[in-house]
């Protein structure tokens, strides 16, 4: 993937470890509305920690970059950065937390501390497209600085909750109009739970976008007792102890593969 040159216009620290940079591309533009940068290079330095981008002006080739330096032992950013010109290399595999659809009027996002970083460029993207947004954040967002940033960006459209309870989520979802989409991010089990709730409230697959973090362990539905457990080798149901022959038959509703009873 080619390296593309850009110029730094502005830099702001928006969280304890998160920087937001405004950049202008020199010649070549970045390929998507919202994506990921694999590396930033300048004067022989390479920064490889998570960097997300969002396009804010196509004509003026302007983008915001979000950098998380929490995992970087040498604080390259603090010490040597910024210099005015550097090179970006994109990560093509990245799937954004949310990709707006043509007819989106409103997007409700469920996030947690772990998926917060992936949500940051999406917030700017939706703002730039004038799509109404409402964010529900679960868990203790320990970083007060980022909370202030979210409040500034979203005004009253962000709600903090200790956890997502099904009654509360159902009441949020039940009052929505057509044209409202959902963005669900967080750890896979929570994402799967929320998605199930949304489907039961009448949201279609097209109206829901999910992005889980962490491993998505393959689950098996035991046809004998209907419990759902993680796939193991020589699968034996932890609940009813039936030996299971795990098939490729998959249910999106249950997010699990069918385990048939195995007999001698």
């Amino acid at each position: 993937m080619e390296e593309k040159k850009c110029e730094l216009l502005r830099k702001e620290k928006i969280g304890h470890h998160i920087h937001k940079l405004e950049v202008k591309m020199d010649d070549a533009v970045l390929s998507k509305d919202c994506g990921k940068i694999r590396t930033i290079k300048w004067e022989g330095h390479v920064f490889e920690h998570p960097i997300l981008y969002v396009r804010i002006s196509k004509r003026r080739k302007k983008y915001y970059l979000f950098l998380d330096e929490s995992k970087s032992e040498c604080s390259l950013l603090r010490d040597r950065f910024p210099c005015s010109n550097f090179y970006l290399q994109e990560d093509e595999e990245y799937v954004p937390a949310y990709v707006p659809r043509n007819n989106d009027q409103k997007v409700i996002s469920f996030i947690d501390e772990q998926s917060l970083f992936d949500t940051l460029p999406v917030i700017d993207l939706l703002l730039s497209k004038n799509i109404e947004q409402q964010i529900y954040a679960a868990g203790s967002l320990s970083d007060n600085k980022i909370k202030q940033y979210l409040n500034r960006q979203l005004q009253e459209n962000v709600t903090y909750m200790t956890s997502f309870t099904s009654t509360h989520i159902s009441s949020i979802l039940s009052g929505q109009f057509i044209g409202t989409s959902l963005s669900i991010t967080g750890t896979w089990p929570v994402v799967q739970e929320l998605k199930k709730l949304a489907v039961s409230q009448g949201f279609t697959e097209e109206e829901i976008q999910c992005k889980g973090v962490g491993p998505k362990q393959k689950k098996v539905f035991c046809v004998k007792c209907y419990s759902i457990n993680e796939l193991k080798e020589d699968m034996n149901c932890p609940d009813c102890h039936a030996d299971l022959d795990v098939s490729d038959h998959f249910s999106r509703r249950l997010e699990a593969y069918l385990g048939y009873i195995e007999i001698e």
Partner: protein, 326 residues
């Protein structure tokens, strides 16, 4: 007015009993069987087929529903309109085609349904599920021999939205609920990758009201067990190991599903009815041309199909039994 007095005399309307061999829907039209779109236009557009096994099978269904309800009945909440449409269609058919067995009294939306065969009656308000003891599909399914599946037609696709399924050929509605047509057929070998599934799906998507279709599907079941749920495979699946050349005639049954497909004009879903018929191989051999044809079909059948249908292990014994019979 369809109403007839509910008297015990009505019950003695015995269901006419023809020997099984004279009414069994033998599925083989040639000496070879492969998957194909074998659907045909249904001549008389009727959901129900009432056979002498009615009492026994309805009792068996109700026992299963009472003991293991979620194994045999599943429905998504948005299936309710389709469920009412199915109930109305079936009751209308019952009283028009079988006035000796069923009756109906209408007072606006308040219906009183009579089942003279079982000496039962139920008054309910159309469209109000709280006036029935079960959901509409679950209620009407308890008065017929057929398993009834409601397929929703949404977003240009077909979804398994509800079903009462007491006599499955080794598939689970608890697992399949909510799947698309393509998803719930995915275990069928070479059905999707041959392009047949896609062709049949397009045919179903275009199905019109008033033009129902029918097809026969078949498999084999040991000891004539109707409720071959995958949930209790450990109870019936082991029987396959007990089949020998000597006992194949008695123990192996040809299992034929008479499947019927109806477009429901109001909900725009599809009703898929399955009437399962069983005949022992011994009985079937009373018609020699059937025994010969069945034997030829089995000998020609690819192993992947025998494996999927669950009789690969005893197929040689069955073939030998059939050969010995003619």
């Amino acid at each position: 007015m369809y109403h007839m007095e509910l008297t015990s005399a009505s019950r003695s309307h015995a269901i006419p009993s023809q020997p099984l061999i004279d009414r069994f829907p033998f599925p083989f039209k040639e000496d070879k069987y492969r998957y194909s779109n074998n659907s045909k236009a249904l001549e008389s557009p009727l959901v129900l087929d009432i056979t002498p096994e009615y009492f026994e099978e309805v009792k068996s269904k109700r026992d299963i529903l009472a003991k293991t309800h979620n194994r045999a009945y599943q429905a998504l909440s948005h299936s309710m309109d389709g469920q009412w449409e199915i109930l109305e269609n079936i009751i209308e058919e019952m009283v028009e085609q079988h006035p000796g067995y069923f009756g109906l009294e209408k007072d606006g939306d308040i219906w009183t349904f009579y089942n003279y065969l079982l000496e039962e009656q139920q008054t309910f308000t159309l469209g109000d599920p709280s006036t029935l003891p079960y959901e509409p599909l679950d209620f009407i399914g308890r008065h017929v021999q057929e398993d009834l599946i409601y397929i929703g037609h949404r977003n240009g696709d077909l979804y398994m939205d509800a079903g009462q399924l007491c006599f499955p050929a080794n598939w689970s509605i608890a697992f399949n609920l909510g799947m698309t047509y393509t998803e719930f057929h995915s275990p069928v070998p070479h059905y999707s990758d041959s392009g047949l599934a896609e062709k049949v799906r397009n045919f179903l998507l275009r199905m019109e009201a008033g033009k129902p279709w029918t097809r026969l599907n078949w498999t084999l079941t040991v000891d004539g067990v109707l409720p071959t749920f995958p949930e209790i495979f450990d109870e019936w699946g082991t029987k396959a190991n007990e089949v020998t050349v000597e006992n194949a005639g008695e123990r192996v049954y040809l299992r034929v599903e008479d499947q019927k497909l109806f477009r429901l004009p109001r909900s725009y879903g599809i009703l898929f009815g399955i009437h399962t018929h069983l005949i022992s191989v011994e009985e079937l051999c009373k018609k020699q041309e059937w025994a010969v044809r069945f034997c030829n079909v089995l000998e020609d059948l690819p192993d992947y199909m025998a494996e999927y249908k669950g009789f690969l292990s005893y197929k040689p014994y069955l073939v030998q039994y059939l050969k010995n019979s003619f």
